[in-house]
């Protein structure tokens, strides 16, 4: 091989033999043919099939579709559970349920993750180590129930039935829970209401004689909220109504120290100083009364006590209120006038969480009175009587009369809190009484679908109260914080796996029925109460064989079969014609009481009065708490879909307040109150008053049995101090003041 260089010309100096030429040609043609293969099918295809490729197409046809009720919050929307291969594939809103109208909020949608939460309780357990050690012994239902009944009976015999405390948060099986405790003979019944809306309920009871009137959004032209954050504290249908109203042009005014999502949708957001809603509404009343912007005819015909009330609000001028609320007097006056102009197609929302300040009760009274004198009762866009649970007459199970109870209730109802209904109670007082062992010690606590360790203020006090008790049994679906510190844990089937007593909404009755078989050995509340009652000798109070038998007894007056109800999910009895005789308010006078005689009788101010709220020292903040759309109080933090959207809380702090403390967005800080101290990340924002900080409640779980939520975020319950309004028994959660500093 010579090392001669190749010249460019060489390339062209080339003779082809015929064979070489034919060979090259064949190769070229063959190559061309092969290379055109890729072009052929792709170029001219016009595929219209729904989806090509591997079968990851979600199902549209299901084995079964079951109508039932959600339980992710108290709104209890109707859901349609779509079942495939024995598992719930998806939950859609039930279009026939007035609380959902076919839509579900994020928590409702995430119900599938609640149902299949790996941390769900599967079988009864008895504590095998110290309380809170996480050591449990699996037992059979027989053993668990026998043990529970035996402990409860022992307490009854030794210390009296009243030493056994029963508590539960509002739920569909509540009637049978109350049945159990009344049959047992204990007066001590705790609900979560005083953490939330005692002030609102009792103010409405004093004024209208009902716990909460309904509101007509469809024709409302003007709505005022004081903190009700419907965009985040979602009550499905009411939230839908609000958004639709705003889209229609309804003017919405929001009073809130924080720029909530509801505030962002409002026409006007007033960053009112915490504790001074009362001043705003007193001034509004003052304007309405002094400028005679109220419905005189309505007041004359349907109310009592106007003059007394008018006299009471005389001193509360908008100028006076401006100094309290930090809202200009002109604004207050203008809003009062705008409201009056829109009346009667206008309402002031009575809000829900009214456990803010001791004076919240007076604020709620003022709100009720404003609505009353505007004449919006039973007017389009106003308030109307809510039938509540009595809209449809249901059958009840036969039972003997309850044993007489002579013991005082530990929560001070009614001997300390004369106005609070027995089925509402003052929960924090109950806890404090257990702790103080006054007026007598409690020995046992049965908790159903409730988490007092997480929800009551001053968590450490609740834990101390636990230590005073011989026996604590919790019935729940997961090992939440309260279950974690109990002696016996009984697994309830989740809401998608059980029957519950029927739910009456408006003029129809709705069923909760199992969509799938219960997980493990979990059982419905109805089953658990009956089984427990048998062992307590109280079976006469639980005369149903099983859940379906209970429901059949309930629907007996309606003349339908259980299968009919199960298929459709609801039943609306034909209306018995318009037999509405003149509506009477369930008050002593039979009318709306602007000055309340019940309040007078119990030595409370008859008309709303100003009560100066406490304020934090200069270097401290009001601690605000409030919901987010993705979680329900303290119960959904372990749901992995909701956890992914909102895994932990942070503390909101105003830009200036943060800068003054060297805190930047995302920094770890300490939030400290007289009750305790927590470490949490800061969110620096313009959307809050500089004298306030905000935390989403319900985080900082202690239970290692809820693995997703364990240790996530911080607990507001570690910070909140306990203050109770003597009139309504409501908590005053915003009266806790905190220091915030860099960690």
């Amino acid at each position: 091989m010579s090392e001669q260089g190749i010249k460019i010309g060489d390339v062209f100096d080339w003779e082809l033999s015929r064979r070489e030429f034919l060979g090259m040609g064949a190769v070229a043609l063959g190559g061309l043919a092969l290379s055109s293969l890729p072009f052929a099918p792709r170029l001219f295809s016009h595929d219209t099939s729904p989806a090509r490729g591997n079968a990851h197409v979600p199902p549209v046809h299901f084995d079964r579709e079951v109508y039932t009720l959600c339980e992710q919050c108290v709104w209890r929307c109707g859901v349609r559970a779509k079942i495939k291969d024995g598992k719930v594939y998806k939950l859609d809103g039930n279009p026939y349920h007035p609380h959902s109208n076919g839509m579900l909020c994020p928590r409702g949608q995430a119900g599938v993750a609640t149902l299949y939460d790996p941390d769900r309780l599967r079988f009864p357990m008895v504590r095998a180590g110290d309380r809170g050690s996480g050591l449990w012994r699996r037992v059979s239902w027989d053993e668990a129930l026998d043990y529970t009944a035996q402990k409860m009976q022992a307490i009854k015999q030794q210390f009296g039935a009243e030493s056994m405390v029963f508590s539960s948060t509002h739920n569909l099986a509540q009637t049978q829970f109350e049945n159990l405790l009344r049959a047992f003979g204990s007066p001590n019944y705790g609900t979560q209401r005083s953490q939330c809306f005692n002030a609102m309920i009792i103010a409405n009871l004093m004024t209208f004689g009902m716990q909460e009137p309904g509101r007509d959004y469809s024709a409302a032209k003007y709505i005022i909220y004081a903190g009700r954050n419907l965009a985040e504290a979602i009550s499905n249908s009411e939230t839908q109504d609000l958004v639709a109203a705003i889209a229609r042009g309804t003017k919405v005014v929001v009073l809130d120290p924080r720029f909530t999502k509801t505030a962002s949708k409002a026409a006007e957001w007033l960053p009112i100083r915490p504790g001074t809603d009362l001043a705003f509404f007193l001034a509004m009343l003052h304007v309405l009364v002094t400028e005679e912007l109220y419905d005189k005819e309505f007041v004359a015909q349907y109310t009592v006590g106007f003059d007394e009330m008018a006299q009471a609000v005389k001193p509360y001028t908008p100028e006076w209120a401006a100094s309290k609320t930090e809202i200009p007097a002109a604004t207050i006056r203008r809003i009062a006038r705008e409201f009056a102009l829109a009346a009667p197609h206008a309402f002031v929302h009575n809000n829900w969480r009214t456990s803010n300040f001791v004076n919240s009760f007076q604020a709620e009274r003022a709100i009720a009175i404003i609505n009353a004198i505007s004449g919006n009762w039973e007017q389009p866009g106003g308030l109307f009587p809510d039938a509540g649970e009595s809209g449809v007459p249901l059958g009840s199970i036969p039972q003997p009369p309850y044993p007489r109870v002579s013991a005082l209730r530990l929560d001070g109802v009614p001997w300390k809190y004369p106005l609070v209904p027995l089925d509402i109670g003052v929960f924090q007082e109950l806890r404090d009484a257990i702790l103080a062992e006054k007026p007598y010690p409690a020995r046992g606590w049965l908790i159903y679908r409730q988490n007092p360790i997480a929800s009551l203020p001053e968590r450490r006090k609740t834990l101390q109260a636990f230590s005073k008790l011989d026996f604590i049994v919790t019935i729940d679906t997961t090992m939440n914080d309260t279950a974690w510190f109990s002696d016996v844990v009984l697994p309830e089937a989740s809401y998608l796996e059980r029957y519950d007593p029927l739910s009456v909404v408006g003029d129809a009755v709705f069923i909760r029925q199992p969509a799938v078989e219960p997980l493990g050995e979990s059982k419905s509340g109805l089953w658990i109460f009956k089984a427990l009652s048998t062992r307590l000798g109280l079976q006469d109070y639980f005369q149903y064989t099983d859940e379906e038998d209970y429901l059949r007894q309930q629907i007996k007056p309606l003349g339908i079969t259980l299968d009919e109800l199960k298929t459709k999910g609801y039943y609306r009895p034909p209306s018995a014609g318009e037999t509405k005789t003149g509506f009477k308010f369930d008050t002593p006078s039979g009318k709306i009481e602007l000055a309340s005689s019940s309040l007078a009788k119990n030595n409370f101010p008859t008309a709303p009065v100003w009560q100066e709220p406490p304020a934090p020292p200069a270097d401290q903040f009001y601690l605000l708490t409030g919901k987010v759309a993705y979680h329900t109080q303290c119960s959904t933090q372990n749901n992995k879909l909701l956890h992914e959207l909102f895994p932990r809380n942070t503390v909101w702090i105003h830009t200036q307040a943060a800068a003054a403390r060297g805190i930047r967005d995302g920094d770890e800080v300490f939030v400290e109150s007289a009750a305790g101290k927590v470490k949490i990340k800061a969110t620096v924002t313009e959307g809050i008053r500089p004298d306030c900080v905000y935390m989403t409640p319900g985080f900082g779980h202690l239970s290692k049995g809820t693995r997703v939520s364990y240790g996530e975020g911080a607990s507001d319950s570690d910070l909140h101090l306990t203050y109770t309004d003597p009139a309504s028994g409501g908590q005053a959660l915003s009266q806790t003041f905190v220091k915030v500093y860099k960690a």
Binding site: P50, Q109, I234, A629, G687
Partner: protein, 185 residues
């Protein structure tokens, strides 16, 4: 297939009605078995803007825009991404090799990589529900009533009427993608 019968699916989103509840996100994740941590749709947050007490806050839900001129389809090297006659952009998972070029090309970050299956995935407009005459899961559950869907070619559809009577925009119009998700504020 006459031109009168040709559907062209689209969405209209009224941002003033969105309360950022994210029910649409949860519904989609469950309906379409989306892997945890990945999303086919989202709710964007604009704000809070301004200084206390004059503040603004808006929400902008979104999902795959099912563009008329989809950049994802353009760049797909195997032809896995394709557009149906009715305008919905879909993925043929048999052909997808998981190169993720389409993820780079999408201005809306609408696509995600499904680690377990090794393919890219995204909103399909709940095409399985559309073909059965049902609304997409996100539209059905929207508590604020912000999401609307329908046939853009039908002048009587909800979306056509909304577009005809309201000023509307699309996101990143300058990208030239011609999205079929329209925004009314």
């Amino acid at each position: 297939m006459t031109s009168e019968n040709k559907k062209r699916w689209g969405m209209v989103i009224e941002t003033r009605r969105c309360i950022d509840c994210k029910a649409c996100m949860v519904a989609c994740e469950i309906e379409n078995q989306v892997p945890l941590g990945k999303h086919r749709n989202w709710v964007g947050q604009i704000g809070p803007t301004g200084t206390f007490p004059t503040l603004g806050l808006r929400f902008e839900p979104g999902n795959c825009m099912h563009c008329e001129n989809p950049p994802c389809e353009r760049v797909c090297p195997t032809g896995a991404t394709y557009q149906r006659e009715d305008g919905i952009v879909l993925i043929d998972y048999d052909k997808c090799i998981g190169c993720r070029y389409c993820m780079q090309a999408c201005p809306y970050d609408a696509r995600y990589f499904d680690q377990a299956r090794g393919v890219v995935d995204k909103c399909t407009f709940c095409v399985h529900r559309l073909d059965a005459g049902q609304p997409p899961a996100c539209v059905e559950t929207c508590v604020g009533g912000a999401r609307h869907y329908g046939d853009l070619n039908d002048p009587n559809s909800e979306v056509s009427k909304l577009l005809a009577t309201n000023e509307h925009t699309v996101i990143y119009e300058e990208a030239g993608t011609e999205p079929k998700v329209f925004y009314i504020s």
